[in-house]
Each structure stands twice: as structure tokens, then as C-alpha cells.
């Protein structure tokens, strides 16, 4: 800076034109510079010292951090995000990511997170293999997400806080899994186990005063040990089969019963139809009889004879052979024509005297 100030009105850029007058100017500047060399060096030294002092006394706290300041090693204050100053040499600052969600994985390791997250192919069975309450074995993988809530406690209370936190997580998870059966661990109890382990882990953190707040504990893959897996799958298959058998039987049931109900309904309807027909016929015939009878009562003999004759006249033509026997001449048989071929066609009266005899007609 001082260099530019002493160069006068002409900035360094004017010299770049390549014109003659530029050269003497530069020489004069160098001469002047050499004369004041010592003072300039001191200035530069002070300048550098000032810059260094500035940079050692200023620090920036990122938005997701908190700065913990100690003076002579003693806790002094916590600073929020932004630009802050400390007394150089006497004070020191440690930045702690308080807003960031930190994560620990148990039983597996993410190698590279991304769209297609890559996992370590090793199995961390020593972390994930645990005994269940019914003395079976399950492989439980889980993650814990946590935040630093109290940066002062986080920094000053526990050494090797990460391994301590991992130890606590493992102990807490085993405590809880040890109190559940293998079936609960694998199926129904998952949420309950995660919730209980989280509470237990938080409790331990409070006791250890780690300043950590457990945000979430999530069970990942929970499996039976590899060699036992097939038999667990077999159980699942058996359950499926059980459901399939039951469903098939129910389907047959659902198919047969409504049809049977339909058939039953039809049977009853048919019976109803029969009943209606039967009763109606009876009523009809009865009322016809009554009508005929009413007339008959008016003139019984005549009606009776008429009905008799009417019937005969209707029936007679339809008959094949008619033989009249005279009891006085009982021997006269020739009229009985045994040779049916020469039988007479029906009498000249045509098909019947009444044409279409109305049975109902009382007359």
C-alpha cells in the first residue's frame, strides 16, 4: 500500500504504454526507495505484524457452529456464528458443530453416501450380533443421530467422546434387545426397541454429561444370523401357505354358498308358483262348477240330459267302432264289423256337432 502511495499521481498502469517518459519515472522511484530502505523495511515488518495480529485475533464461526473461547485454558464464553475477536496468545477458540446432525453407524459402514450409497461389504458382526431375551441370537444394525447441545460439556467432560458415545450406544441397544424376544426384535418390537434404546442412551449421556442430545435412533436391517435365515424364511413361507390355503377354502365357500342360496330361492319360488297355480285352478274350477250348478238347479233334468247328449255328440265322432246291441235280437252280431278296414268315415255330421264344443258352456 505504501508503495503505491509514494509513486505519486501516476499509477503503475501508465507505465505500461511503452512510451519514453515512463522509464525515468521508474528509476527515480527506485532511487527514492533505496534511500528510505530501512524505514520501509520497518514499516513492512510492522505491517506484517499487524496483519498477523489481525488474523490471530479474528475468527469466524460458521452458521452451524459455536465457538468455545478459553482464556489461559479456562472456559470464558461461547460465541454464536459470525466474526469475533479474541485476545491473541492469551485466548484460544475451539469450534464445535452444534447445529449439525452427527451420525454413528453400528453393524455397517457407509463408504460413500449418495444417490447410490455404497456400503462397506464387511459385516461388523462383533457390533451387531447380540443375544435376545429368549437367549436366541439376532443381528441388529442401527444408526444414531445426535447433536451437540452443550458445546462446553462436549469439549471438557469426557475424553474420546466418540468412542464413549459408541460404547454407550452398544450397551444401551444390548440392554434393550436383551429384554425382547427374537420375534419381537425381528418384527413387532422394532419401534419400541428403538424408542427405548434412544431413551436409555439419552439417560446415559445426561449422566456422563457429554452435552450430546440424541435426536434419533433408527433400527436398520435386523436379521437372524445367516445360518438361521433359511428357517426364518421357511416360517414366512409357511405363514403365506397358511393364508393361501385359508383363502382358497374361503373362495370355494364364497362361490358355493351364494349359488346354493340362489338355488334355494328358485326352489321356493317354484313352489310358490305351483301353489298359485294350484289354488287358482281350484278356484277356477270351483267357480265354473258353481256357475254350471246354478243353472242346473233351475232345470236339473233338462240340463242333465243336454249335457249328456252334448258330451256324447262330441265324443262319439272321435270313437272308432260303434256297436249297437239290441237285447231283443241278441243274436244279431253282423253289425260288429271286425274288419276295421271298411270302417265308415265319421258320420256326416263332420268332426262334431258342436264344432268346437265349449266345455264351460253350461247349455
Amino acid at each position: 500500500m505504501a508503495l503505491y502511495d509514494s509513486s505519486g499521481g501516476n499509477g503503475p498502469w501508465t507505465g505500461l504504454g511503452g512510451d519514453g517518459p515512463a522509464m525515468p519515472d521508474l528509476e527515480g522511484l527506485l532511487r527514492r526507495f533505496g534511500g528510505n530502505a530501512r524505514r520501509t523495511a520497518i514499516r513492512i515488518g510492522i505491517g506484517i505484524a499487524a496483519v498477523a495480529l489481525f488474523f490471530t485475533s479474528v475468527y469466524q464461526v460458521q452458521p452451524d457452529e459455536a465457538g468455545v473461547v478459553t482464556r489461559f485454558g479456562r472456559y470464558s464464553r461461547v460465541t454464536d456464528p459470525g466474526l469475533h475477536f479474541i485476545v491473541p496468545f492469551l485466548e484460544a477458540v475451539t469450534k464445535v458443530p452444534v447445529e449439525r446432525q452427527l451420525k454413528e453407524e453400528f453393524g455397517f459402514r457407509t463408504v460413500e453416501a449418495g444417490v447410490r450409497t455404497a456400503y462397506d461389504e464387511r459385516q461388523f458382526l462383533e457390533e451387531s450380533l447380540m443375544l435376545t431375551g429368549d437367549l436366541n441370537v439376532a443381528v441388529v444394525e442401527w444408526i444414531v443421530q445426535y447433536k451437540v447441545q452443550d458445546p462446553r460439556a462436549y469439549l471438557f467432560n469426557v475424553r474420546e467422546i466418540r468412542s464413549t458415545f459408541r460404547d454407550m450406544s452398544e450397551a444401551a441397544m444390548r440392554d434393550v434387545v436383551g429384554d425382547h424376544s427374537v420375534d419381537e426384535v425381528l418384527t413387532v418390537g422394532r419401534e419400541q426397541i428403538a424408542a427405548q434404546a434412544k431413551d436409555l442412551l439419552q439417560e446415559m449421556n445426561d449422566r456422563y454429561e457429554t452435552g450430546i442430545s440424541v435426536q434419533q435412533l433408527v433400527l436398520q436391517d435386523v436379521n437372524p444370523p445367516d445360518s438361521v435365515k433359511p428357517s426364518f424364511n421357511e416360517v414366512n413361507e409357511a405363514i403365506q401357505e397358511k393364508e393361501r390355503l385359508t383363502n382358497e377354502a374361503l373362495a370355494e365357500y364364497n362361490q358355493a354358498i351364494p349359488r346354493a342360496r340362489g338355488d334355494a330361492e328358485r326352489l321356493i319360488q317354484e313352489a310358490e308358483g305351483y301353489a298359485a297355480e294350484r289354488v287358482n285352478r281350484a278356484r277356477g274350477e270351483a267357480s265354473r262348477f258353481e256357475s254350471v250348478y246354478a243353472e242346473y238347479r233351475n232345470a236339473p233334468r233338462v240340463t242333465r240330459a243336454r249335457m249328456y247328449l252334448e258330451t256324447l255328440s262330441e265324443v262319439m265322432p272321435k270313437l272308432g267302432q260303434k256297436v249297437i246291441l239290441d237285447e231283443s235280437g241278441a243274436n244279431i252280431l253282423p253289425l260288429l264289423n271286425l274288419n276295421g278296414e271298411r270302417r265308415q268315415p265319421p258320420s256326416p255330421g263332420g268332426p262334431g256337432p258342436g264344432g268346437q264344443p265349449e266345455r264351460e258352456d253350461p247349455r
Binding site: D134, A238, E285, E290, Y293, Y308, V315
Partner: protein, 309 residues
């Protein structure tokens, strides 16, 4: 030379200042020794402190909770189960002076803790059944409909003490010894418990056979349920069909009865005429051309025929 004197004086002053002060950080505590001999008590307060320059020496210790992670021990439980038990502990230097005198540094402390905690762990674990080490409460397992767990005979479900009581007793017993090293034991926990390799294979076999039993039962339950549904279907079919038959017959019967009553009521007016009328009707339908009629000449029908002759 005259000008150098203040410079030398200042430098000497600075050196003296630095030699007579020391800082204790939040994570530290210290003791002061004079030619190897402790002077005064422990310094636990963080910040700037003073001492005699060159004579007093500061020995710093950690003030935080320190880790201890034991090796996994193979232990036999009281019920003769072979397991690995892995414990961890957290401890702090409670009395730096005593700590310094008895174990000198953390490495010494770690090896003492190994002896103490491993020993107590062995002692405690060996006096309990495995179930006591695994479980913490006597809660009942939730049983799912599909996986009704077979209460395996060899697995007891009741505990008397539980893991927490065992770790507490380890902590208490170990804590009886550690104060003599200036160490406060804050927590001991069982981190991992596992079957040893050979036992694990047997446990897996047991798990497998247990699963197979569940699977088998599930399958036969399925068959049973299916048979039950089929039986129910048969029963309902029969009942529906017979019920329908009964109703139909009743309806027909009632209709027949009603019809009879109607006929009877009508025809009773004149049974004779009914018979006459019905007979005529029967002639019409019963007689056809296959019938040969033989009539006596004295029949009513031919009454007039004969008379006119």
C-alpha cells in the same frame, strides 16, 4: 553495550515470567513437584497459576472421564453356558497426587483397571445364570399371532437380579479398590455378550428347529383352517338346500290343502251332479278312436231311435 542492557534485561524478565507461570486447561489438573517431591495439593482449577521458577515442576493429568475398554473375557456362567463378555468402564483421576504416587501415569492405571475390572467381571458373571446377564427386567414378551413362540424348555423366563444389578455389583466391588490408586470408577457396563463359537452353532441349531416347528404348525393350521371352512361350507349348503326343500314342500302342501278345501266347498253342494259332470268331462278326454263302443239299444242315448222304430 549500553543499548543492549535493557534488551537483555527485558528478555531475562520475560523468561522469568514464563518460568513462574503455568496454565491449567479445562480438561486438565496438575500436581506440583519440587525435585520429585509433591508440593501442596492438586491444582484442579483451570486458568493461570504461579509457581517457583525452575524449582517447581508441573505434572499434568487429565480431568475428564477416561475410557477403559477391556478385552472380551471367556466366562462360564453358573448354568454352564460359555460366553464372551466384553465390558467397558469410565473412570477419572480423583486424587492426582495419590494417582501419581501409586500408578504414576495412565498406562499404569489402565493395567491396574484391567486386573480389577476383569477380575470382578469374571467373579460376578460366573455366579449368575446366563439369563440374568442378558435381561434387565421381567417384562413379558409380546407374542404375535403368527409366531407364537414356543417357550423353549431350557430358557427360563424369570430373572432375579438382571444385568443392571450385576454391573452395579461389579462397579461397587471394583470401586472398593480403585480409590487407593486415586481413581474414581464412574461406570462399568457390559458392552457385548456373545456365545463362544461352539455354543453358537448349537444355539443356531436350536433356533432352526424351533423355526421349523413354528413353520410346521403354521402349515397344519392352514390346512386345519381350510378344512374347517370346507366343513362349514358343506354344512351351510346342506342346511340351505334342506331349508329350501322344507319351505317349498310346506308351500305346496298349503296350496294343495287350500285347493282341496275349495273343491270340497264347491262340490259339496251336490255331490251327485259333480260326479255326473266330472264323468262327462272324463269321457271327453278319455275316449278316443282306439276305443270301440258297444251300446245296448235300450240305452238312454238310443231311447228315441228305438221308439221311432
Amino acid at each position: 553495550m549500553k543499548r543492549a542492557l535493557p534488551v537483555v534485561g527485558t528478555l531475562a524478565g520475560l523468561v522469568l515470567l514464563f518460568a513462574s507461570t503455568y496454565t491449567i486447561r479445562e480438561t486438565e489438573q496438575a500436581i506440583i513437584t519440587q525435585f520429585g517431591e509433591p508440593v501442596g495439593g492438586a491444582v484442579t482449577e483451570p486458568g493461570l497459576h504461579f509457581k517457583l521458577p525452575f524449582i517447581h515442576r508441573v505434572t499434568r493429568f487429565d480431568q475428564r472421564w477416561l475410557p477403559w475398554d477391556g478385552d472380551a473375557n471367556q466366562i462360564t456362567t453358573r448354568d454352564k453356558k460359555f460366553i464372551w463378555v466384553d465390558t467397558y468402564a469410565r473412570w477419572r483421576i480423583a486424587d492426582p497426587l495419590l494417582f501419581f504416587q501409586s500408578v504414576r501415569d495412565e498406562r499404569g492405571a489402565q493395567s491396574r483397571l484391567d486386573d480389577i475390572i476383569d477380575g470382578e467381571t469374571r467373579n460376578s458373571v460366573a455366579t449368575y445364570d446366563l439369563i440374568e446377564i442378558v435381561r434387565i427386567t421381567n417384562r413379558d414378551f409380546e407374542i404375535t399371532e403368527d409366531l407364537v413362540s414356543f417357550a423353549t424348555e431350557e430358557v427360563p423366563s424369570e430373572i432375579e437380579f438382571g444385568r443392571n444389578a450385576i454391573t452395579r455389583s461389579i462397579l461397587e466391588k471394583a470401586s472398593e479398590v480403585t480409590p487407593s490408586f486415586g481413581i474414581e470408577l464412574v461406570d462399568v457396563r457390559i458392552k457385548r455378550v456373545n456365545y463362544v463359537e461352539e455354543v453358537r452353532a448349537k444355539v443356531y441349531e436350536r433356533m432352526i428347529s424351533e423355526r421349523q416347528r413354528i413353520a410346521e404348525r403354521s402349515r397344519s393350521e392352514g390346512q386345519g383352517r381350510a378344512a374347517e371352512v370346507r366343513g362349514q361350507r358343506e354344512r351351510e349348503l346342506k342346511s340351505i338346500e334342506s331349508e329350501a326343500f322344507r319351505q317349498a314342500e310346506e308351500i305346496r302342501g298349503r296350496a294343495d290343502a287350500e285347493a282341496s278345501a275349495i273343491y270340497a266347498r264347491a262340490y259339496q253342494r251336490d255331490a251327485d251332479f259333480y260326479r255326473f259332470m266330472k264323468s262327462l268331462e272324463t269321457y271327453r278326454t278319455a275316449l278316443d278312436e282306439g276305443v270301440t263302443l258297444v251300446i245296448g239299444s235300450d240305452s238312454e242315448f238310443l231311447d228315441f231311435l228305438r221308439r221311432s222304430r
